[in-house]
């Protein structure tokens, strides 16, 4: 696996037209991008298509990449945007459950450590529960804990504030707890 600096210099070479460099970048990142898409889209076929599309977009936008910054997060952002576009297509009228009051209540709640997901829970069960979240909540969870994106970065992708990203994330985690307790 290539180290961080290596990826950035590869990206620079790829930008100058080296297809070998691009092949290495692809090889290093495709598995992760595929898993990201797989988890975000919840559908294998779509994830396969999305992986191909993400790399296509990334290659075309390579000249927008700033080589002084890390490559993987940039690629993740491309993937995040693509997945969000795909998820929105599923719900063309895009009404999300943003009920202010309910979310407000969420912020006021005291911590409930005893409700946290038990460590004895298997990873598979956790994944299954994540898969059952609504599209947007699932994407927030994946982008935060897989792509390691900040609330602000996630908010930029989803077109919401970073505060609201945090609220969505906490709500998603609570839903996961409820699901896993059943």
């Amino acid at each position: 696996m290539s180290s961080r600096d290596e990826l950035e210099s590869l990206a620079e070479q790829a930008r100058e037209g080296s297809s070998e460099a691009w092949a290495e970048l692809y090889e290093a990142n495709a598995p992760a991008i595929f898993r990201l898409c797989r988890r975000a889209l919840n559908n294998r076929q779509e994830a396969e298509d999305a992986t191909a599309a993400v790399f296509l977009k990334a290659r075309l936008r390579l000249n927008q990449f700033d080589a002084s910054r890390p490559f993987a997060p940039w690629l993740y952002r491309v993937a995040a945007n693509h997945c969000w576009d795909e998820l929105r297509k599923r719900r063309p009228h895009g009404e999300w459950d943003d009920a202010e009051a309910e979310l407000q209540k969420l912020e006021d709640q005291a911590p409930t450590p005893q409700q946290a997901i038990l460590l004895s829970e298997t990873k598979r069960n956790v994944r299954n529960a994540i898969a059952e979240l609504d599209d947007r909540s699932r994407l927030v969870v994946i982008l935060r804990y897989f792509a390691d994106m900040s609330y602000e970065e996630i908010g930029n992708v989803l077109g919401i504030s970073s505060n609201f990203t945090g609220v969505l994330l906490l709500r998603a985690r609570r839903q996961l707890r409820t699901r896993l307790k059943q």
Partner: protein, 542 residues
């Protein structure tokens, strides 16, 4: 102040863990956590939960699908293995099956210039040659099974195996099967210029002879399989005779059946069972004895010796001047029954002219004659019923395709079908290329299964492609559908119009062709588009 206000909110703890608090708030939270045991416990629980979530999401339980893997990885061992085993398999097939066939064909004067003739003769004798080619067919059957298994394997294991890997695995398996020592055949095999089995000589086995001139004066206790320019059997064959030759003459006796493909077949001796033959001219001379039935496809058939059982002929001209014990069924242009002719069973002739039956001929029942004409007038009702039936069949297939592949259908119908000129042209080129490929591959015989499969897929593809055109026509008339039901309705309408047009003479065949090529082209364009998408994204190593 209430108790909870003193505590840190869960959201804050989560943001703290995610590094999402301002410096000031982070400091405050940190201080609070030191002081407050209950919030500390919450912090610990949330931290553990975050780690579990991260671990669950990051776990690699699915590999990158084969077709998304960079292709240079395939080049290494997969390609080498493929080439190696592919070559091995092809060369084995060639030396074991194709070469002997070509050699034996050349030795009887059939060369490349008359491939069609040789294929026809082989086709007629397909069944007859089964003894010799049993393992050839087994090989073909194995190949087809392997292809089917490969598809299943590839589909089921596509997460782990790329197409190339599956293919090479199959080739490995197939070449293993092919190169395994063939079952030793109990037969005497001769490959000589002129072969003579002298009078009094006995071959206590099957005899396989490939040569120019073959003369059997002695005795073969098993079957005789022969491929030569001329074959004379004046001795005795106790089993069956399977032969391809320019001229086959039987003056001796064959206890079993005779299956032959020959330009001229003359029977003057005895055949213990049936004759199945195809070629140019067949004569059953007056002295001949046949104890079974005769099935023959020849240009000219002359029967001067009795056939005790059924007679089936497909010949341009047939002359029967002997007793036929069973029924007679003849297809052809002319049929003559001479004065010595007699038919024990039913007699039927499908031909251009009435059969000429001599007044002295003894027929059990009068000849049933059916004039064969090219254009049969259909009644209006039956045509309407047929139209309805075709339409219904096409609709059911189309509906199945659309329901199974909604996304592809949508892509084809909305993106490529409207571009009719391009679609039609692509459809035309694609089907010509595929047809040429089918033909070339089939001629090599080894590629026959591949050729047949391609032809089958091409035919099916051309047939169902009209569904996309129908969907497009339906949408042009009724507008874009908003539900699956509406989409099917549009297809039904489109197909109905296409089938009405198809039922018009001349115009119909043009419509059929246009609809098929147009839809097929659109489908091809769609497939190419998708391939391009993947190809651009997945790098290929130079």
């Amino acid at each position: 102040m209430s108790e909870s206000a003193k505590h840190v909110e869960e959201l804050t703890i989560m943001r703290f863990l995610d590094g999402e608090l301002s410096q000031e708030r982070e400091q405050k939270t940190r201080e609070h956590l030191i002081r407050c045991a209950s919030c500390r416990a919450a912090h610990e629980a949330l931290k553990a939960e975050t780690e579990l979530l991260r671990a669950a999401i990051l776990e690699r339980e699915e590999a990158l699908p084969g077709h998304l893997r960079p292709r240079h990885a395939d080049v290494s061992w997969v390609l080498v293995a493929m080439i190696a085993f592919g070559t091995l398999a092809v060369s084995t097939l060639w030396t074991r099956y194709v070469q002997p066939i070509i050699e034996s064909m050349e030795s009887i004067g059939l060369d490349g210039t008359s491939v069609a003739t040789s294929l026809v003769i082989q086709g007629i004798l397909w069944e007859g040659w089964s003894d010799m080619f049993t393992d050839f067919f087994e090989g073909m059957a194995l190949f087809l099974v392997a292809v089917a298994a490969g598809c299943v394997l590839h589909w089921g294991w596509r997460r782990f195996l790329s197409s190339a890997a599956t293919l090479s695995l199959l080739l490995v398996a197939l070449s293993g099967v092919l190169t395994a020592p063939a079952s030793v055949q109990a037969a005497v095999i001769k490959h000589v210029e002129t072969y003579t089995l002298r009078e009094g000589e006995v071959i206590d086995n099957d005899l396989i002879v490939l040569g120019r001139r073959v003369v059997i004066k002695g005795t073969v206790t098993g079957d005789l399989i022969v491929c030569a320019v001329s074959v004379e059997i004046s001795g005795e064959v106790q089993g069956d005779v399977l032969g391809i030759a320019r001229r086959i003459e039987v003056t001796g006796s064959i206890n079993g059946s005779l299956r032959a493909g020959a330009q001229t077949l003359i029977i003057d001796g005895e055949v213990g069972r049936n004759i199945t033959a195809g070629g140019e001219v067949v004569r059953l001379r007056p002295g001949a004895t046949l104890r079974g039935s005769l099935i023959a496809g020849f240009r000219e058939v002359v029967l001067n010796a009795p056939v005790p059982r059924d007679l089936i002929l497909a010949a341009k001209t047939s002359q029967i001047d002997a007793r036929i014990g069973g029924s007679v069924l003849v297809f052809g242009e002319r049929l003559e029954v001479g004065p010595n002719g007699a038919i024990g069973g039913e007699a039927k002739f499908f031909g251009a002219k009435e059969p000429e039956v001599s007044a002295d001929a003894q027929l059990n029942s009068p000849f049933e004659f059916e004039k064969v004409e090219d254009d049969e007038e259909e009644s209006m009702t039956s045509r309407i019923w047929a139209l309805f039936g075709y339409w219904a069949a096409a609709f059911i297939l189309s509906a199945a395709i659309m329901l199974m592949t909604p996304e592809a259908t949508e892509g084809v119908v909305t993106r490529h079908v409207p571009d009719y000129g391009k679609s039609f042209l692509v459809g035309l080129i694609a089907s010509v290329v595929l047809f040429a490929f089918t033909f070339l591959v089939s001629v090599t015989l080894v590629g026959l299964p591949l050729g047949l499969t391609t032809a089958f897929v091409l035919t099916i593809g051309l047939y169902f492609s009209q569904a996309y055109v129908a969907a497009y026509i339906g949408r042009e008339i009724l507008g874009t559908p908003t539900s699956a039901g509406q989409a099917l309705g549009r297809v039904a309408l489109g197909l109905f119009l296409i089938y009405i047009a198809k039922s018009i003479p001349v115009v119909g065949s043009v419509v059929t062709m246009i609809a098929a090529l147009w839809g097929f082209g659109a489908l091809s364009l769609y497939v190419m588009d998708r391939r391009k998408q993947t190809e651009n994204a997945v790098p290929a190593e130079a």
